[in-house]
Symmetry: C2
């Protein structure tokens, strides 16, 4: 499979990466979450070529992660704002930041810290269960086929292939409509 | 700045991406979290070239995300297991999966669902505050300079540059030792 085809995979991680998995894209979004909105600011902060930045921003707009909003009429100028879909990537970025803080920081200490406004404390974001609120750890979570994967598993079972491991199933392409 | 230099950035997200930001790397880790351990299985599931897979796995071993463990003596064969550092990426992958489920899934329904063993329910993983346990949303969290960024901000203030925006600060390279 080619990288450009991963949007066809059943796996949700692969489909998410088909939108945010290119080099620089997650750093552009990090900047957007920290308040950057204008092309020149992104370029100044990231130090990438205008061509590459433009290509990445266009794709994020096309995918509905950012929206282009005019902030000046004459001359016409736009800025880029996170949509609801874009804001939904907050846990991805905070989890990457947390991992970087935990595993790639020396004695100099963390770069940013995060104050949770409602409780007033410095927070270390973690992954929690939507049902009981407890932290989620890999050994405490059991993945099982959801509706779309079950269809594939049932089809394979009809061909005599039972108990195909989940990683093999989710790497498959989605059935064509 | 070149992509190969992002490990030098102050930003924790950039440093995390210097380890896991290459194409395929997060999909290899997704497979590892789902139980894949052997080279041939990774290759079968992902359908990438042996050369690329080998390069990605070596980098993850070098960075301490995976460890190579012998499972057979004659002939000598190794498998790849997640280290503690690797297990720390669980929230990154689950957040990507959740976003893919929320925003990139059609009527066919989600691919995988996740049962939280301790409460027994199907969970939808969310980002929560380590201090009060409430869900974290971008508008409820205030980023502020941590120790290492404060040093840079203070140096700039001495040069007369005060109130440099955070996205500009964290895009800078770390001071050389």
């Amino acid at each position: 499979m080619r990288w450009t085809e991963i949007d066809q995979q059943l796996c949700s991680v692969a489909r998410a990466l088909s939108v945010v998995g290119e080099r620089w894209t997650l750093l552009i979004l990090r900047d957007a979450f920290l308040g950057t909105r204008r092309f020149e600011q992104f370029q100044h902060n990231l130090g990438i070529t205008r061509h590459r930045l433009s290509e990445r921003l266009s794709k994020l707009v096309e995918q509905g992660v950012l929206v282009k909003v005019p902030y000046n009429e004459r001359p016409l100028r736009h800025e880029y704002r996170l949509t609801r879909k874009g804001l939904g990537l907050y846990p991805v970025l905070m989890s990457l930041a947390r991992w970087g803080d935990d595993w790639m920081t020396g004695e100099e200490g963390v770069t940013l810290q995060y104050v949770h406004r409602s409780c007033g404390k410095v927070t270390r974001p973690l992954l929690a269960c939507s049902e009981c609120g407890e932290p989620l750890r890999p050994e405490g979570v059991m993945p099982q086929p959801g509706p779309s994967l079950q269809v594939i598993a049932d089809d394979l079972a009809k061909e005599g292939r039972r108990n195909v491991p989940i990683p093999e199933l989710i790497g498959r392409s989605r059935p064509q409509e």
